[in-house]
C-alpha cells in the first residue's frame, strides 16, 4: 500500500462510495447495482460534476460561488430561447449548426457573467460571498425575465444529445474505442512520467506498483464501459431502429446497447482538462498558491487579482456548459432549473476533500463527491424515501463527511 503512493483520502472516498452502492443494492433487493440504474446515475451526476470542477478552484482560492444554480437557470433560459425561438427564424428549424451555436452562447454567456462577478470580487474587493449571493438573486430574477416565466420547449434534436437518453449515447463500438484510447493514454502518461523522473535520477515507485496502478485504472475504465454497454435500449426503439436500417427483426429480439452517455463523456473530459489546468499549468499553480498564502503569491509577482477573476470566469463558463446539459436533459428551459444546485455543487466539492480554508482540493475528488451525493439521492428514490427525509440524510452526510475529513487531517499532521 505504501509503495503505491496513492492519496489515502481518495481511497477512503472510493471505499465510502462502495459502501453506499452495496448498501443500497442490498436494501433495494438488487435494484441499485444494475446497468440501467448505474447508467442513469452517471447521467444525473454529469451536470453537478461539471460545475464541481470549477467550484474546487473557487474554494481553493478561499472564495465561494453561491450563484451557480441561479446562473444555470438564467443561461438555460437564454440557451433555450436562442435555439427554440431565434435560430429557427434566422437559419431554420433543426439546422445542423443550431446545437453548436446554442452551446457556444451558453458557455460564452456563463464566462462573461463569471468574469463580471470575478472582477467585482478581485478588483473592487467585495467579498465573494456577497457578490455571488447578490448574483443568486439577480440571475434567478433574470431567468424569469427572459420569457416572463414561460417554459421554452422543445429543444433542438442534436442539442438534446447533450442530455443523454437513447440518442445521447454513443453505442457499444464507439464506447469500446473510447475505452481503448483512455487506457492507452493512462499507460502512456504513467510511463512518460516515470521515464522523466528516472532521467533526473529521482526516486520512483517500484515497477510492480506502477503496473498495479495502471491495471486498476484501466480496469475502472473497462468496467464502466462494460456496464454502459450492457444496458440495452428499449425494445420498441430498437425495433424502429432496425426497421429504419432495413434489418429484419429477429424472433428473440435485438440487443442494442446504450454505450456511454454524451453528458458523461463531456463531464469526464471537463474533469481531465480541469485536472491538467489545476496541476500542470502556471495558472493552476497560482490558484493554489493564492489559496495557501495570498500575500506570498502577490509578493512573488503573481497577478493575484487577474488570476482570481479568471477563476470565476472559468466557473461561469462551466456553469454555461452545465446549463446546456441540464436543459437538454429536461428537453425544456424553465426558470426554476438549477434551484439549490449551488449547494449540491459546494457539497460535492467539500465531500471531495476541498478545504473551505483554501489551498486544498482536487478535481477528481470533487467529481467523486458529486457521484457520492447523487448516489445517495438516487438510492433513496429507489427505496421510496420521502423527499424531506432525503434532504435530511444528504444534509447529515455532508456534515459528517466534513467532520471525518477534518479529524483525519488533524491525525496525520
Amino acid at each position: 500500500m505504501r509503495h503505491l503512493e496513492v492519496d489515502p483520502r481518495l481511497v477512503g472516498m472510493l471505499g465510502a462510495l462502495a459502501v453506499i452502492w452495496v448498501g443500497f443494492d442490498l436494501l433495494s433487493g438488487g435494484a441499485f447495482l444494475t446497468p440501467r440504474n448505474l447508467w442513469n446515475l452517471s447521467v444525473q451526476t454529469a451536470s453537478i460534476a461539471v460545475m464541481a470542477c470549477g467550484m474546487v478552484l473557487v474554494i481553493v482560492t478561499r472564495n465561494i460561488d453561491l450563484s451557480v444554480g441561479a446562473m444555470l437557470g438564467f443561461i438555460g433560459m437564454v440557451v433555450g430561447v436562442v435555439q427554440a425561438r431565434w435560430l429557427p427564424e434566422v437559419i431554420g428549424l433543426e439546422h445542423p449548426a443550431t446545437a453548436f451555436i446554442a452551446v457556444a452562447v451558453g458557455v460564452a454567456l456563463g464566462g462573461v457573467i463569471g468574469l463580471m462577478q470575478g472582477s467585482l470580487i478581485a478588483y473592487l474587493g467585495i467579498p465573494s460571498f456577497i457578490v455571488t449571493l447578490g448574483g443568486l438573486l439577480v440571475w434567478r430574477g433574470a431567468a424569469w425575465w427572459v420569457t416572463q416565466g414561460q417554459t421554452v420547449a422543445p429543444m433542438d434534436g442534436r442539442f438534446r444529445m447533450l442530455g443523454g437518453g437513447i440518442e445521447g449515447a454513443i453505442g457499444a463500438t464507439a464506447s469500446w474505442v473510447l475505452a481503448a484510447l483512455a487506457c492507452a493514454a493512462i499507460v502512456a502518461g504513467m510511463v512518460m512520467l516515470r521515464r522523466r523522473r528516472l532521467a533526473f535520477g529521482f526516486p520512483v515507485r517500484p515497477g510492480w506498483a506502477e503496473g498495479v496502478l495502471m491495471g486498476l485504472a484501466c480496469l475502472v475504465v473497462i468496467g464502466a464501459v462494460a456496464v454502459a454497454n450492457s444496458y440495452p435500449i428499449p425494445v420498441g426503439v430498437a425495433r424502429r431502429m432496425a426497421e429504419a436500417q432495413g434489418i429484419a427483426w429477429p424472433p428473440g429480439g435485438l440487443f442494442i446497447a446504450h454505450g456511454l452517455a454524451i453528458p458523461v463523456i463531456v463531464a469526464l473530459m471537463v474533469g481531465v482538462a480541469m485536472t491538467v489546468l489545476a496541476t500542470r499549468t502556471r495558472f493552476g499553480r497560482y490558484v493554489f498558491a493564492i489559496g495557501g498564502n495570498p500575500e506570498a503569491a502577490e509578493l512573488s509577482g503573481v497577478n493575484t487579482r487577474r488570476s482570481l477573476m479568471m477563476v470565476f470566469g472559468l466557473m461561469g463558463a462551466l456553469v454555461g456548459l452545465s446549463a446546456c446539459i441540464a436543459t437538454a436533459r429536461l428537453n425544456a428551459a424553465t426558470n426554476a432549473a438549477g434551484t439549490l444546485d449551488e449547494l449540491y455543487v459546494i457539497a460535492a466539492a467539500v465531500i471531495g476533500g476541498t478545504s473551505l480554508a483554501g489551498g486544498m482540493g482536487t478535481v477528481a475528488g470533487a467529481m467523486l463527491g458529486a457521484l457520492v451525493m447523487q448516489s445517495l439521492q438516487s438510492g433513496m428514490v429507489l427505496l421510496g424515501v420521502d423527499t424531506p427525509l432525503q434532504n435530511i440524510v444528504v444534509g447529515l452526510v455532508l456534515v459528517f463527511a466534513v467532520w471525518l475529513d477534518g479529524a483525519w487531517r488533524k491525525r496525520i499532521r
Binding site: R196, R197, A199, F200, F202, V276, T279, R280, T281, R282, R285, Y286, F288, A289, G291, G292, N293, E295, A296, A297, E298, L299, S300, G301, V302, G359, M360, R413
Partner: protein
C-alpha cells in the same frame, strides 16, 4: 570609490498623512552587508518594501548600479536582481519547496505545462548548497521546521542570481543553531559579491555580520556608521535616543547636539 550597487536617495512615503519614511537615504556596495536597525515601527520594513516593489515611494529615487531604476511591482524589483526574504517568509504553505522557489517564475515545457521534474531537480541542487540534510522535497512547506522553511525562502531568493538580497528579520523565528547557519550563509553570499540589506530590531543579531549600520527612528535616518568605528552601545544610543556618535555620518533624523 566605485558605484554603489543600490542607492536610495531622499525616499519618503506617507500612509494616511503619517510619514512612515521621511527623506531617508541609504546605499549598499557590492559584497557589503548593511544592517538597517531601529525599533519596531521605525520604518525599516516600509523602506525595504519600497526597494522590493511592494510599495511605491511618494518621493525620492532608487539607483541600481548608478542607473535610475523604476520599481513599481515585485516583478520589477526581481528584474533588477533584487530579491527579498520577508519576515513572514511569505511561503505558500500548501505546496512543496520547488513550487515555492519557482512561484511566479515557473519552468515550463515547450507545451506550456509546468516542468515539475526540472524544477525539482533545480531545487535539489540549490538546497544541497544551503541545507545538505534537506530531504522533504515532496511535502508541503507547512510540514517543515522553521529552519527548513527559512532555507526554502533563502533558496528562492538566491536561485535566480540575486545581486541584491534583502533579509527582513532573518533570524526572528530561528533557534541558535539555525541562526548560526544563516550567519554562515550571509558570509558565503557576501563572498560572492552579493550586496545584502539585513533588517533587524535587535542589534545583537546583526552587528557582527554587518559592515555598516544605518539606524532609523520615527521614519527618519539617524545616521550611518561602519561597525568598526562604533561600539554596540553607541549604536544602541542611536536606536533608542537618536543620538548620533562622532564616527557616524549624521542623517536628518539625528538628535540635535546639546
Amino acid at each position: 570609490m566605485s558605484t554603489p550597487l543600490v542607492e536610495m536617495r531622499g525616499i519618503s512615503i506617507a500612509f494616511g498623512g503619517i510619514k512612515a519614511v521621511d527623506d531617508v537615504s541609504v546605499d549598499l556596495m557590492p559584497g557589503e552587508v548593511v544592517a538597517l536597525l531601529g525599533h519596531n515601527g521605525a520604518g525599516k520594513s516600509t523602506l525595504i518594501k519600497i526597494l522590493s516593489g511592494a510599495y511605491r515611494a511618494d518621493a525620492g529615487e532608487i539607483r541600481v548600479e548608478g542607473q535610475v531604476a523604476d520599481i513599481g511591482t515585485p516583478r520589477d524589483a526581481k528584474r533588477y536582481g533584487i530579491e527579498t526574504i520577508y519576515q513572514t517568509l511569505a511561503l505558500a504553505d500548501n505546496v512543496d519547496a520547488a513550487a515555492n522557489i519557482f512561484l511566479g517564475r515557473e519552468i515550463v515545457t515547450r507545451w506550456g505545462t509546468l516542468d515539475d521534474a526540472a524544477m525539482e531537480s533545480a531545487t535539489r541542487q540549490v538546497m544541497a548548497r544551503l541545507n545538505p540534510h534537506f530531504r522533504r522535497f515532496k511535502e508541503p512547506v507547512r510540514a517543515l521546521s522553521g529552519g527548513q522553511r527559512q532555507s526554502v525562502a533563502i533558496a528562492r531568493a538566491i536561485h535566480f542570481n540575486a545581486r541584491i538580497l534583502i533579509m527582513d528579520e532573518p533570524t526572528a523565528a530561528l533557534g541558535p543553531a539555525e541562526t548560526a547557519q544563516v550567519g554562515e550563509l550571509v558570509k558565503q553570499l557576501k563572498a560572492q559579491g552579493i550586496g545584502i540589506f539585513l533588517i533587524s530590531h535587535d542589534i545583537h543579531d546583526v552587528f557582527d555580520l554587518a559592515d555598516r549600520v544605518s539606524v532609523m527612528k520615527n521614519g527618519r535616518l539617524v545616521g550611518t556608521a561602519r561597525t568598526s568605528d562604533v561600539t554596540k552601545d553607541e549604536v544602541l544610543g542611536m536606536i533608542i535616543l537618536g543620538k548620533c556618535p562622532e564616527a557616524a555620518v549624521r542623517g536628518p533624523g539625528a538628535m540635535a547636539d546639546s
